[in-house]
């Protein structure tokens, strides 16, 4: 059995900027939280700066549109500020904050009554051809086209595929593969057992590939896909 390549074990976010480096140690963070609970706004600002990227990652895993992400992330920090006195420090501040972020996203979607985007058979021939070119190459070393326009189009296609997944499964996949959360962190934020997260992640991957292959098969002249 071939070893999993090193690059496969790393998410894009971790590879770019390790989140752990930016985070204060647990003890320092607890001190900051206590100070913020006593009304020290500078302490809260420090907490905000430490966690803003990950809050964006969680919110972005659900909402995907930049305007929505900024609005909801801001709302998350405001809500956390006014609820801070009720936070009992039994969990990490980050975990508490990311849970607020997830709940705020579900509320936002409910309020906006955004329906899940389902694209049954609306991919054109060119789009399907692009899908074929994105993935399904051995070794996992995939590159998007150099052309910015085509790259954006391909990303949009993949976002569509992801849009067909269950919301929580999509969030787990993005948190894991794109934003660099560990399985344990995902479990804490979504209040799921670690084993459940692993199984659901594995099934969500399979479901994503099923959708992807379905799109390719929908093409009249598509060649059968072996992978």
């Amino acid at each position: 059995m071939a070893d999993v390549p090193k690059t496969e074990t790393q998410s894009r976010r971790r590879a770019e900027a390790p989140a752990a480096d930016r985070r204060a140690t647990a003890e320092e963070e607890q001190q900051l939280v206590r100070r913020a609970q006593r009304g020290d706004s500078a302490a809260y600002e420090e907490l905000l700066r430490t966690h803003q990227q990950r809050v964006f990652a969680v919110v972005g895993g659900i909402l995907r549109r930049r305007e929505d992400i900024e609005d909801v992330a801001q709302q998350v920090f405001i809500k956390a500020y006014f609820s801070l006195r009720r936070f009992d420090l039994r969990s990490a501040f980050g975990t508490w904050l990311y849970k607020i972020a997830v709940n705020e996203c579900w509320d936002y979607l409910r309020k906006k009554r955004v329906r899940r985007l389902v694209y049954e058979a609306d991919l054109g021939e060119e789009q399907i051809r692009q899908l074929e070119s994105i993935a399904d190459r051995p070794g996992g070393a995939l590159r998007l086209p150099e052309d910015a326009g085509r790259r954006a189009e391909q990303r949009d296609l993949l976002e569509r595929l992801l849009g067909e997944l269950d919301e929580q499964d999509r969030l787990m996949l993005i948190m894991k593969e794109v934003e660099g959360f560990s399985v344990e962190e995902i479990g804490e934020v979504l209040e799921l057992n670690v084993n459940t997260v692993k199984v659901r992640l594995f099934r969500a991957r399979r479901r994503l590939v099923e959708i992807y292959r379905k799109r390719l098969k929908a093409r009249p002249s598509a060649k059968p896909h072996s992978r």
Partner: protein
């Protein structure tokens, strides 16, 4: 697409993430050559990872002004909350003063009703008793022994 064995799904996810303990890895290595479903599922999982890495952008960076904007929004929200509480403050003060005044008035009224406004209980005094006995005849003295009882019975029957 074939399903992976349920028993191995979590292990396959660990394998994909490169975080498996040696015993589990050994077990999986023995299992995979015999199980087409798990092999296919693992391939699909790798493909999904390729798709996600190739095509999905991480969430945007917050940008330098984000924290400043949030702090400003918090200040504004605090100001709004404070203004709302200030708006009702005179009414609260008035209400509390009214309540205090009402409580004091009630206390005074209660003391007054206890001490002054209560009707005095008539105390039986010696002079009163004599006044009463003047208006009514004295009751007959009670017989003290059997003879007196018989005598009083005889007197009363004779009187009739």
């Amino acid at each position: 697409m074939a399903n992976a064995c349920k028993k191995y799904e979590a292990k396959l996810e660990d394998f994909l993430n490169g975080v498996q303990d040696p015993a589990a890895a050994e077990e999986l290595e023995a299992h995979l050559p015999r199980c087409a479903g798990c092999r296919e599922a693992l391939e699909a999982a790798r493909l999904s990872r390729n798709l996600l890495h190739a095509g999905i952008e991480p969430a945007p960076e917050p940008g330098g002004a984000f924290a400043t904007r949030v702090i400003a929004a918090i200040r504004a929200e605090e100001g709004k909350r404070l203004a709302a509480s200030e708006f009702w403050r005179p009414l609260e003060v008035l209400a509390s003063r009214l309540a205090l005044t009402a409580a004091a008035a009630l206390l005074v009224l209660a003391v007054y009703s206890f001490e002054f406004a209560r009707p005095p209980h008539p105390q039986p005094s010696a002079s009163n008793q004599s006044q009463v006995s003047e208006g009514f005849p004295e009751p007959a003295p009670q017989p003290t022994d059997k003879d007196e009882i018989l005598l009083s019975l005889a007197e009363s029957s004779h009187g009739r």
